[in-house]
Symmetry: C2
Subunit: 736 residues, 2 copies
């Protein structure tokens, strides 16, 4: 167990590295050459132009020469706070604004709890405990003195801890309720204030049955004409167009080369660029580049038109799914929420996601296949969470020297070389684990994709959930109980239901110092690393040096991506878990978490405003998950406290805790039924109100139809110029 | 452990008592005096008249003198089988027909399983087992020789049991799937073939918000006018009318007396009946009875009209709930399946149950209260299932002699009397438990009512679920593991997750003889008791002797009630559980269950046709529960077999079983999403089809409105004559 001095040293190191990151950030961000990395969002919004066009000399375009700007290296914090929440919603989207609220929620929950816990529990724990008297000199500086470990077994003081757990749970639930209420009403307001957009009128229909003699388009048309008379407007089919997608990709590459050559020609008008016609331009006849690419593109366009017509006509490339649009939001709301067909596996309807949010590949998965996929992935996830260490250990055993020598005897001379030997032995065994942890989010995302969800937002939420389970077992439990997850699973199966929380609970106070260090490294320094954006910076500069040829390439290179929900949400939820578990046990941990929440709030507010560009808008659809996981943390905390107290022989006080998980679960049930429909359904009242508003501003059916007709066209068809697309707009309803 | 001879004796006794019951039934049912008890359904359907009017002399009216009818005492069985299923649906309702299918399903599942199990497992178990060789003479007639206990530990024969468990599970799932499919399509066909009825057009709206300055009726009207334009037709408010209900009750009593006196006068036209005006007609002025009751009824009618008007006007007696009717089934289907308001706790809509099925008292429970009630009842149910023995033990301890003497010293002389003493000591301690078990279904029904469900059918289903949990813990587990449920709970909490199925599994083969006896007593003899209807018979004859005055009283006295779903469904499911648990362990139990299913099928088919009169029609809404419980039984059976095998040290074969519960659960998930919507939702396709049919047969809106206007009037308002009710039909939509 670490002494307070140890923690002090660790804190110092972490604060120093944090400061180093921040100073580096402050220096790098004001260099014009990095402008596109640190202010990406503004470039995308079109509100900031390249500093190269702003004058200041050749050097001034690359390095900042204004000394004054170097002095205020923390001035990004007030800048980040200037924007109001509604401005953030307008600027960076609702998801980002709600994401920031999670950090605020952390402050709101743990702020008052920390104050009360420090004022009440620390004196209770510190005064007259076992450790205090028995070993005053030995461990007087141990932070265990401030934790529940310091209280004598069978003490009546445990009533204080129990009542504090009650108090803290009630406070947390109160804040959760208020926040859920606020987010739900914000979401409804946001949806209500949204301008007319295709997803309000559109429903995604899957599992369209195959009726012989009819095309999918015909069946969709006649089914909805019949069952939603007076409401059905039009629909858009879904195509499987792998070959076409390849052509589109090829065309964009050719276009890029053409742009590059034209740019080159503009800069040196005296010399037309040329290239050879052979493989990679290495041999063959030398031709004029611009003419060559123009001709190639023309040829490709012809091919694409033929291919596109083939897709439209070929019944095999039409998927049994469609986006059906209605004349009013009311009609769409009704269709999305009702069952259409006698057979509930056919004609499945749900709200259409935003066009940007659609994951096209999963639209046509049959119903039975979905069930099997879900089963397969849950089994796989379970195996991944508990047994991931087995293949890694296997790889590690292969990677050790004897194994390597056996597998590849020709490597013997290198292995025998001493430097390589120590490098291999010291570095390689850890490498397999590092690589695994690095690719884990991608693996989880692939698993979610196999599960068959149809929107990117759901895919990300499911990935976040999987990642959270992994962290819960391997980071939280793995740190508290020694041994691999596999060993823990074995132990859990062979322990009684009351023994498990005891075994975990009893080690909790002992691991407080470990988690404090974890928070400082992962939370404090990690967040400072987040604002520095070292990886995107390096990648951007490398790309700029070697790949970027045209303006389009530059834009591609600076793509900031969205906030990485699948990774940030679970780690955020882990902090909530740590906070709730330790709030009644070792309250000294809370200030460290508070610092994390506050600092991360500033950093992400800055990043949301200046960097990230959300690729879709789910209107805060992840909130129910955030809420649910915090409730889960509360229950874990209560169970572990019960386990801990029962090892302290506090038999007279522990039973009082039994009621708390039941109350918490009931609260969760209530919140679920009270607020979750706001995130899943679209009330008819709202739809009618918006429809009435629309009628006032007079938008006719025909206008609406043309507005909706190709909103849900597959993006690869959009990629081609607009002129050619007129031919693609099929599936318009016939005149009645 | 009982020998086969023991079981033979027990079987003989039970078969004899079964035969005695059947002969008693055969004798009693052909006596004209009992006709109304054994053919109630036909009286209610109006297809059978009192045998008294059929001639045959005075004695012939009471006792059957036709000797021929005595000879064929089993001829009710072919009679019961004559009706086809569709005739049963028309005669006794869909619920009854589906209820009978559960018994058939039992035969379909366990019939082939029994054949295979007896042919394959019995030889495997019997040959060369431990018991066979080691103790040939001692237990050679023990039925354990035929069970899995006879197989040597670590034997490879366990692979046979495991593959049989797989085979049986697949067969059971296949039958379950086919049956679910059949019942679901039968249900849809039944609903589609139903004539126009109010619940097709009506939606129950609860939690209507209070808007100041508006009555509930006004808010409902304007809300649905706005959000379901063109579809809304009319609505019917819900009133709280306790005082009115009392008046209605009083009036029906007076009417009965009037009828009685008029009947008396008709029989003796020379003497007008008289009565005294005082209390119970014991003193006071003697008046003409017919005039007296006529006057009383007239007075009461006036009071009732005033009271009714008061109810209609008083905003306090109008509940925040309403039955809203739509112009088409499509409109109602849309409203029932969508969310209406931004606040998901307001304007809650669901399909209106049949008017007969409504449980009026629960229509106005606020949303928050529902959550709290559910929590309270689940805690209570948990306590009831596991701790019910505690208060009973307390009562028993009070009821013993010393306790009684202390509480009531004046009883000492009686207690000291020897006969009374032995009676008290022998009988009273068991009495408390008996009384508890007798009133248990009523207690569970009251608990379900407190939970706040709005239809009788749901109330009965919830009660059945509660009763099943009670039986699962106290009958099934309680018989296998020794000790009270409370002790079991304690043991479970202190055992590991893998130890629990081991501890239960290991005792399963040992309890086979007990359960065989249980099946014979509760199943065979119990069902024979069911057909005898001894209790209703006695009660009917007693009522007829002492209470019945008029024809109306007679009808009341013969009321056969519905099939007692809350008791029959759980016990039926218990038989499925026994069958699945023992099918791979002690297959000799299966024939006993098969006999139960077959016999019970005949008996209930007879009862459904001749006796029971369903008070509502839920169109088989209980099927998903039946399906779910059988799946649950399969999983319990797999887990227990795993536990059992692991005690047999079959470490090489047991892991093969782990996959089975996962597959079974996935199958359940699939069935749930495939079929359950047919029981919960009403597809728009169906609604449209029926609407189109209706249009063809031309039913105008006005006609429909008058048809629906008082379909959902509170039944007590219906009780009063139709003439007066014209004034009560308020809440008609105003002319537009």
């Amino acid at each position: 167990m670490a002494t307070i001095a140890d923690i002090g040293v660790s804190a110092l190191i972490n604060i120093l590295s944090m400061l180093a990151f921040l100073i580096a950030f402050a220096l790098l961000r004001i260099q014009p050459i990095n402008d596109r990395v640190y202010f990406t969002k503004w470039y995308i919004a079109g509100k900031r132009s390249s500093p190269r066009n702003r004058g200041g000399g050749v050097v001034g375009k690359i390095v900042n020469l204004n000394c004054k700007t170097y002095l205020s290296f923390l001035n990004w914090i007030p800048q980040a706070l200037q924007m109001s929440e509604s401005e953030i919603i307008a600027h960076a989207g609702f998801d980002s604004a709600v994401f920031l609220r999670i950090y605020l929620l952390g402050l709101k929950i743990f702020g008052p709890i920390a104050v009360v816990a420090l004022l009440v529990l620390i004196p209770v724990n510190a005064s007259g405990g076992t450790l205090f008297f028995l070993s005053r000199d030995l461990v007087v500086s141990n932070i265990d003195k401030l934790s529940i470990s310091n209280v004598r077994p069978k003490s009546y003081k445990f009533f204080v801890h129990i009542s504090m757990e009650y108090l803290f749970t009630f406070w947390a639930c109160y804040m959760l309720y208020k926040e859920y209420d606020r987010v739900a009403s914000m979401r409804l307001k946001f949806l209500a204030s949204k301008d007319r957009c295709p997803e309000q009128f559109t429903v995604l229909v899957r599992n369209v049955p195959h009726i012989s003699g009819h095309t999918v388009s015909d069946s969709v048309e006649s089914f909805f004409q019949k069952n939603h008379p007076g409401q059905y407007l039009c629909h858009q089919g879904v195509y499987s167009a792998k070959k076409f997608a390849k052509l589109v990709k090829k065309r964009s590459k050719l276009q890029n080369w053409l742009d590059y050559n034209q740019l080159k020609f503009e800069r040196q008008p005296d010399k037309r660029p040329t290239r050879k016609t052979g493989f990679l331009g290495l041999w063959g006849k030398r031709v004029d580049s611009i003419d060559f690419y123009n001709q190639e593109i023309k040829d490709l366009d012809e091919k694409m038109i033929i291919e596109r017509q083939k897709i439209m006509k070929d019944p095999k490339s039409v998927m049994p799914a469609a986006f059906v649009s209605f004349k009013s939001r009311w009609g769409a709301a009704v269709c999305a929420q009702t069952q259409q067909s006698k057979n509930p596996t056919l004609w499945l309807t749900r709200w259409a996601p935003e066009p940007r949010d659609v994951y096209w590949k999963n639209l046509a998965i049959p119903f039975v296949s979905l069930t099997i996929r879900k089963l397969m992935i849950s089994v796989l996830l379970f195996a991944l969470v508990f047994f991931y260490i087995i293949p890694i250990a296997f790889v590690q055993s292969l990677a050790n020297l004897e194994g390597l020598e056996r597998v590849a005897p020709f490597l013997r001379p290198i292995i025998e070389w001493k430097l390589a030997k120590s490098f291999l032995q010291g570095f390689v065994p850890g490498l397999a684990l590092k690589i695994f942890l690095f690719v884990l989010p991608s693996i989880l995302m692939i698993m979610s994709k196999i599960e068959g969800h149809v929107c990117l937002s759901v895919l990300e939420r499911r990935t976040a959930a999987k990642y959270y389970y992994f962290m819960l077992v391997n980071v939280f439990l793995g740190s508290i109980v020694a041994g691999t997850a596999f060993q823990q699973l074995h132990a859990f199966l062979h322990q009684s239901a009351t023994q498990i929380p005891r075994n975990i609970g009893v080690s909790i106070p002992m691991k407080a110092t470990f988690f404090i260090t974890y928070i400082m490294i992962d939370g404090w320094a990690g967040i400072a690393g987040e604002i520095l954006r070292l990886k995107p910076l390096v990648i951007f500069q490398l790309k700029k040096m070697f790949i970027v040829k045209t303006e389009r390439d530059l834009e591609k290179a600076m793509d900031p991506k969205s906030i990485d929900f699948p990774e940030t949400l679970p780690s955020l939820q882990l902090y909530f878990l740590l906070g709730t578990v330790y709030m009644a046990v070792t309250p000294i941990l809370l200030p460290f978490i508070l610092i994390f929440f506050a600092f991360a709030f500033f950093v992400y507010r800055h990043q949301v405003i200046n960097v990230y560009n959300q690729k879709y808008e789910s209107a805060g659809a992840f909130w129910p998950h955030v809420h649910g996981r915090i409730i889960g943390s509360l229950i874990i905390s209560q169970l572990l406290l019960m386990g801990l107290l029962s090892t302290k022989k506090a038999a007279n006080s522990t039973p009082f805790l039994v009621v708390l998980p039941i109350l918490t679960l009931t609260f969760h049930q209530y919140c679920k039924s009270r607020f979750e429909p706001a995130f899943r359904k679209y009330p008819l009242e709202e739809a009618t109100t918006k429809d009435t508003q629309d009628e006032a501003s007079s938008a006719s059916d025909i206008e609406l139809k043309s507005y909706l007709s190709d909103a849900y066209l597959h993006p690869i068809f959009h990629a081609v110029e607009e002129v050619e697309l007129t031919e693609v707009k099929v599936d318009k309803p016939r005149p009645r």
